[in-house]
Amino acid sequence: MARITASVYTSHVPAIGAALDQGKADEPYWQNVFAGYDYSKQWMEENTPDVIFLVYNDHATAFSLDLIPTFAIGTGVHYPVADEGWGPRPVPDVEGHPELAAHIAQSVIQDDFDLTIVNKLVVDHGLTVPLSLMFGQPGQWPCKVIPFAVNVVQYPVPSGRRCFELGKAIRKAVERFDEDLKVQIWGTGGMSHQLQGARAGLINREWDNDFLDRLIADPAALSAMPHIDYVREAGSEGIELVMWLIARGAMADVAGGPAPTVKHRFYHVPASNTAVGHLILENN
């Protein structure tokens, strides 16, 4: 039986990818960001899963305004790294797990979540930056990845409640997969940031840390928070945080199991325009 061993949460700032790719990781500005991931890289080495179910948002890369799926699951074999306008990041392409992805799609759709099934997909910084933060810069990624893209670009975006419920359905699906696989679920993006207008650069440190506290201790109550609170308090792009609730909803305690262990928690301001938040929760 496949099982979810841990969940990982991290911001996915494009400038982090650029800093790594351009060899700026040792500059003091970026050192402060990457220091928060030193433990994580070591933890990843010791806890490399077979598959990562990686929840992220596409930033107008694979999906233009021609097609705006609320939830899209990658069921393909191979995902090339996208050219987002400055050439593709020099990181390995991503290998999928089509069998598990198709199994999850089948199960979750039957649980009333309308996923869009995607076999051809280029992946952007939303997906590759978290991999770089957790694995560094290997010649190939050490495990398979199922991309799961959530629309947080065009409103309305899915509610926190729906994301949390979706996480529960994903956990159920994973546990019904016959092969013995260790699966991690990652929720990426977010912490406070606003990239637009006269309010650009908004950072709400207190709100972000309260979000982390509640995500750990009482995610069900947190999931009831309306969109407008994310936008007002954490900036227009802070809405990306709803994706963390998908990963959190897939943890064992939500289904009556023991509470997870907090293996690591990190928060830092700024990385480019945003606050960086990061959390590793292990299932017990």
Partner: protein, 146 residues
């Protein structure tokens, strides 16, 4: 009955909803085209000629040529799409976001290093924070331009 849009009262913020998306469809699709290196070269060689290949309004074309991202957003642009213009120009996301505040690049970067813009006074229109319409443009650079 009108749909609930509670986000209309946040200062300095345009939420990219279905209404904005419809208005900005071609502007944003033009931006997507810049994900191909050949298109970036054609755009850089003759911006006006490249823009004229797209069914944009004249105002949208002017906003792109001016690199005025606030103006682009008012005409339906979305920041994730508009970022392709910045990428084509070689601008960082921080430079792009900063350009929308009226602050100089240095002023904006320094604000971020000090912990970013405070939410205080910037949650609702009519408060007294630095993102309120009557406080624009911001920063020394903005004041000099007035």
């Amino acid at each position: 009955m009108a749909l609930d849009k509670p986000y209309k009262d946040i200062p300095g913020t345009i939420i990219f909803d279905a209404e904005q998306s419809r208005k900005g469809y071609w502007l944003n699709q033009f931006c997507m085209s810049l994900m191909q290196a050949a298109n970036r070269e054609r755009f850089k060689a003759d911006e006006r000629a490249y823009l004229d290949e797209w069914p944009l309004s004249e105002e949208q074309k002017q906003a792109v040529i001016a690199r005025d991202l606030n103006w682009c957003m008012r005409t339906g642009g979305n920041i994730y799409f508009l970022a392709k213009i910045g990428a084509t120009d070689g601008a960082s996301f921080q430079q792009m976001a900063g350009s929308m505040t009226g602050m100089s690049e240095e002023e904006y970067r320094d604000m971020m290093l000090r912990g970013g813009r405070s939410p205080e006074g910037n949650r609702y229109l009519g408060e007294d924070g630095d993102a309120q319409p009557e406080r624009q443009p911001q920063g020394r650079a903005g004041k000099g331009a007035k």
